[in-house]
């Protein structure tokens, strides 16, 4: 009874320490706050679009009467971009798409990669070797280029962009999960579980998986930013032919022809990409401090 109580207390203390470590890192907290802004923006527009005063929450509203970008003013706090799109509302709409798209790439990519990585390490030998070669091969093509090639084959749509990025991203997680699993595999309690006669499956998913999850989560939070960068880069070079899609990269590319006369048309939507990538990076670094025992104790 008392042992249980002390264990509970110890866990509570660890949790408290984790919070302390995270919240003592001011930039990580700032990152978290920014991330939450994006998150709520995405939630509200996705599930309660009626809250916002938008007629078309899922597409841009061009104004061909006055297509030339206008500088920021009272009416358009962020100015407008070609063709007469109000940047403020466009950005709010775009955040939704970018956020869910990043999530839709990172989560399945990580899931696939982690499962494959763990299975490969656990079985080792040939399985592992083959997997590592496959990841090598995928890594041997820059992801933007591979995404372009896949996009051509599947047709250049939003969905194929997502699929392309998942196909490009899972090897990263497979490798990552592999390296973590190799460490975790040696830890004694897994030895003990094996000695106690647990089945392989059980060891893998009961013992190895939970232990490799925290670092994977950190990696995922960092990758949300990288994926958003990749998506916006693809959109910028014209991967998505469909106009009117509220997407930050696309929004930025709209202003490209006016970069000399209307720099805000690129800078402002671009800033929102940077802000998100920065926020998740800071947040991820904070999380990493929390799970890294060395950083946790050092000052």
């Amino acid at each position: 009874m008392s042992a249980q109580k002390t264990a509970k207390e110890a866990r509570y203390r660890e949790l408290k320490l984790s919070m302390e470590v995270f919240f003592s890192n001011k930039s990580a907290v700032a990152g978290l706050i920014i991330f939450l802004f994006y998150f709520f923006d995405a939630i509200i527009l996705q599930f309660f679009p009626q809250v916002m005063p938008f007629k078309h929450p899922y597409s841009l509203t061009p104004n061909y009467v006055n297509p030339i970008p206008l500088p920021p003013s009272k009416k358009f706090p962020f100015g407008t971009t070609y063709p007469g799109v109000n940047l403020l509302t466009a950005i709010i709409k775009s955040i939704r798409l970018d956020f869910w798209l990043s999530l839709a790439v990172v989560v399945p990519g990580a899931f696939l990669g982690v499962i494959i990585g763990i299975v490969a390490t656990y079985f080792g030998g040939l399985v592992d070797e083959v997997l590592m070669r496959i990841t090598d091969i995928v890594f041997s093509i820059p992801y933007l280029v591979l995404a372009i090639a896949i996009g051509y084959v599947l047709g250049r749509t939003l969905n194929s962009m997502m699929i392309a990025l998942i196909l490009v991203w899972w090897p990263l997680y497979a490798r990552y999960a592999r390296s973590i699993t190799l460490e975790v595999k040696e830890i004694t309690f897994i030895e003990a579980a094996r000695a106690a006669g647990s089945s392989k499956m059980k060891i893998m998913f009961r013992h190895i998986l939970p232990n490799s999850l925290p670092p994977v989560f950190v990696q995922m939070s960092l990758d949300l930013g990288t994926i958003m960068l990749a998506i916006s880069a693809l959109a910028f070079i014209g991967f998505l032919p469909a106009a009117n899609l509220p997407e930050l990269g696309y929004l930025t590319s709209l202003g490209y022809n006016y970069v000399e006369t209307a720099p805000w048309a690129m800078i402002i939507p671009g800033m929102f990409i940077v802000l998100f990538a920065l926020a998740v990076n800071l947040m991820g670094d904070g999380f990493r401090d929390v799970i890294d025992p060395r950083r946790r104790s050092a000052l």
Partner: protein
């Protein structure tokens, strides 16, 4: 030399009331809590204690190699009359809040200052030979570094001597050696001919046991007439005189030649020294990389590096703990041999009392960042006074059957150690005062001190 050292009775290292705390996120870890210790010239001081008692921290603090989150809260370490850690202590006194970055700045200064002493007057052997050597550099280079930065004069004079010596000289030297050995006449001859740099080279050849005399003679005869480029010669002579390295970066081509000459000489000297320690094939070993050597060999290399400048004090931080038992014995033999060959002082840190019993003159027992007992080896082993020491003695496994007793309880949490005696919670003889006040060292015998109220102070 020896006479000098005997006369100089001041201790090499004097540690006064040293408090060292590590600042971490999980709290302040009080590693050393008032250590008082003297290391006397020519002795072997054994330091024993459980892991985590601060013995390694103590060794590193003497060297000034402490991490940036280590605060010198109080007390001083006086090495050869200089208090190197003074800036750190003063910073801690001054600062309202301890900041590792500030501490690091000062530490950098301490490092710079101490780099003249380290490797030259005091040196250290680390515990883990597998990680102590830089994997990317040859063994020879890593030994040479110690010579290169502290004794370039010696190296230059060795090199110059080989250039100055004529065939005639080496023949004469062989003759003298055969007649009288390495005596006064041998030295006199070298001095007259201005080739003192040959001395240690010749002696190291002459003393080798595994070679035939004829072979040795041949080798000595070969130590002559080695030409140096005239450009480098001037610089080498300057280095010989001043024992200081010139600024190589300011001498575009010559600098490189001179540096290479000196390094090559350092490799030679390293190989000689390794040969003296009985390492086979030293000329090949110096060009090997650490991964090509076994753990025992690596530890020998580390010890060689520490000893090559004949330092006054060598701190051996558990040099045998990471090794196999057989290799441990060899390393201990090596240390004993060195103790006889090179007259220097040793601080031998170990958790293993049986190891200490073999090598040390005096033994200090540490517990929770304090010295609890210190005295001559015989006194510690025959009449241990502190309850902790007594318990340690009972915990040593021996060949004869005796009951092994583990020490009950655990080392106190060093983040908030007990207010009184550190050993109080585990002590079977605990008294009320032990809980209140930390005991000082009380004299209990000839040169034998114990920090325990059983032997002095206000007994109640």
């Amino acid at each position: 030399m020896m006479e000098n050292r005997k006369h100089d009775s001041s201790p090499i290292v004097k540690i006064e009331n040293l408090h060292l705390h590590y600042y971490t996120r999980r709290g302040v870890y009080k590693a050393l809590n008032g250590v008082n210790l003297e290391i006397r010239r020519g002795e072997v001081l054994g330091v024993a204690g459980e892991s985590g008692c601060g013995k390694s921290t103590l060794g590193r603090a003497i060297m000034g190699i402490i991490p940036r989150n280590a605060a010198i809260v109080e007390g001083k370490i006086i090495v050869d009359g200089v208090d190197y850690l003074k800036p750190l202590r003063e910073y801690f006194k001054r600062a309202k809040k301890f900041k590792p970055t500030k501490n690091q700045d000062l530490l950098k200064k301490v490092n710079e200052e101490m780099s003249k002493v380290r490797g030259q007057k005091i040196s250290m052997v680390f515990q883990e030979p597998m990680t102590t050597l830089n994997p990317l550099l040859t063994v020879g280079y890593q030994i040479s570094e110690a010579l290169f930065y502290h004794n370039p004069g010696l190296l230059a004079s060795r090199r110059l001597a080989r250039a100055r010596a004529t065939k005639e000289d080496t023949k004469n030297i062989v003759k003298i050696l055969k007649e009288e050995g390495e005596g006064e006449r041998f030295r006199q001859y070298l001095k007259n001919r201005n080739i003192m740099g040959l001395e240690d080279q010749i002696i190291s050849i002459w003393r080798r046991r595994e070679l035939h005399d004829l072979k040795k003679e041949q080798m000595i005869l070969d130590l002559c007439c080695e030409p140096i480029s005239s450009m480098a010669r001037g610089y080498l002579e300057q280095i010989e005189k001043t024992n200081l390295l010139p600024k190589f970066s300011k001498l575009p081509i010559v600098g490189r030649i001179v540096k290479r000459e000196i390094l090559k000489e350092a490799y030679k000297k390293s190989a000689e020294f390794l040969g003296l320690l009985g390492i086979p094939d030293p000329d090949k070993v110096v060009y090997m990389y650490p991964h090509e050597l076994s753990g025992g060999q690596r530890q020998r290399i580390v010890i060689t590096t520490a000893m090559i400048n004949n330092p006054n004090l060598v701190i051996l931080d558990e040099p045998t703990s990471a090794l196999d038992v057989t290799i441990q014995a060899q390393i201990l033999e090596l240390v004993k041999e060195l103790k006889e060959k090179i007259n220097s002082t040793y601080m031998f840190i170990s958790h293993d009392l049986s190891v200490l019993s073999e090598v040390s003159d005096r033994i200090a027992i540490m517990y929770a960042g304090q010295i609890v007992e210190i005295g001559p080896r015989s006194a510690i082993f025959n009449s241990p006074k502190h309850p902790y020491t007594q318990m340690l003695m009972e915990a040593i496994p021996t060949i004869e059957a005796h009951e092994l007793k583990a020490i009950k309880g655990e080392v106190p949490d060093m983040r908030n150690p007990p207010k009184g005696c550190m050993f109080y919670p585990r002590c079977p003889y605990a008294m009320p005062i032990c809980k209140e006040k930390r005991p000082q060292l009380f004299k209990v015998g000839e040169d034998h001190y114990v920090a325990c109220y059983l032997y002095g102070g206000e007994k109640k």
